[in-house]
Subunit: 214 residues, 2 copies
DNA sequence: TAAATGTCGTGAAATTATTCACTTAATCCA
DNA sequence: TGGATTAAGTGAATAATTTCACGACATTTA
């Protein structure tokens, strides 16, 4: 595989490309240029061409990219065929939002089960996903490698430790806690307060220049 | 001001530093080193020292940083005194999560009002925030510069246009739509599906190396 | 007081990412 | 068919970010 040659910045944009191509395909468009893509997803066209070029020559000069071909290519590259099973930990408002969000639609991730500490929620189903009690975490987490963590910050590290013990190797952490994990576990943090505050900071201090932001 | 000298990557970490220092202060710690900070927030210690150095010499050799002093400094720098008023657009599960999240706690942003298209929600209050009908957007959005966008993707561009017309200059966009805005408006995208998919991709293709992310 | 230790601040190097601008090839159109 | 146009792919330049590694100085300890 050529995975290690692909810059991280590029890898982060792949899902974005994939989804947009999928939309184009659904709309019946058969052809797209890096310029069009650029305008739609707000990434410089040279960056898009460079990103694609890491995978080889996917387009045609004077023509652009064939949507169906490119989509098929990304489908393979992003392992769209193979589903990644996900567990949701913490069924509060944010957790519920995830359960109702239909990820599987144009995405290879699927929330298979959810856990919560509130006994009143246990046994219920939201968006087809069964809710278990957090005490039963270890008994149910089989074949699941990714967890979405939407629990109170005070529980974050403790539950993370249990998740890792139970075999999880990727965590999407929505708590403000900067959790500690072993080397082989990957954590992505999404910190809503930080995002909001950082937006406010940028607005005040970088008033004129304009570039889109992750 | 020295804002323009500060790299964007540094600016993005500032809220993180601020919050962690605040926690230290609450815990009664009076002193901290870049190494300790590094272990807690998973950012390389040299990066932390470099980040701080953009603001001048804030520490003392052989000692570290004085928590209270540093906190006070960041409070000023991040304009913690001055609140940024925020409007929430779309009171679904995700929107509700925001309303219940107590941002103002150690944060200078405050959700002042919310809007939704569902008449049953209008007039209610969640977490002290009044919900208005989306039709009345323009009438109520006064003195608000930031919007959190948690509406269905189909409405995203249309509502964004209205928001900008009503004077908003920053948008925290949680919809998958890559919205188009004029030069003076800043948009930060947080795309939950992309985050999840990109985590899965990194897990599969960058198996051994380990660095914290985002 | 003197030696040992700790830790900042930072030049310089290394790494990573973006952007420019040009060559080349395919398409489009008259 | 042939000239004009379009747009990919990419070498090279530039920019941004991180990291190394060390000098200098404060603190701590004996």
């Amino acid at each position: 595989m050529n995975q290690n040659k692909i810059p991280q910045a590029t890898a982060k944009r792949l899902p974005l490309y994939y989804r947009f191509l999928n939309n184009l395909h659904i709309q019946g468009k058969s052809r797209v240029s890096s310029k069009e893509l650029s305008e739609a997803i707000k990434v410089d066209s040279a960056t898009i061409r460079r990103d694609f070029s890491y995978f080889g020559a996917l387009g045609k000069k004077g023509y652009g990219y064939n949507v169906e071909y490119l989509l098929g290519f990304f489908r393979k590259t992003l392992d769209q065929d193979e589903n990644t099973p996900v567990a949701l930990i913490g069924v509060g408002n944010l957790g519920t939002a995830f359960l109702n969000y239909n990820f599987t639609k144009n995405n290879n991730t699927k929330i298979e089960m959810a856990f919560d500490a509130d006994k009143r929620k246990v046994g219920k189903t939201i968006g087809d996903v069964q809710i278990y009690h957090i005490e039963d975490l270890e008994d149910n987490l089989e074949n699941i490698s990714v967890a979405i963590l939407t629990v109170p910050v005070s529980e974050a590290q403790n539950i993370t430790d249990r998740l890792i013990n139970a075999g999880i190797s990727g965590v999407l952490n929505f708590t403000p806690a900067r959790i500690t994990v072993p080397e082989h576990v990957r954590v992505h943090h999404i910190d809503l307060a930080v995002e909001l505050q950082s937006l406010a900071y940028f607005m005040k201090h970088y008033p004129l220049e304009h570039e889109e932001e992750q």
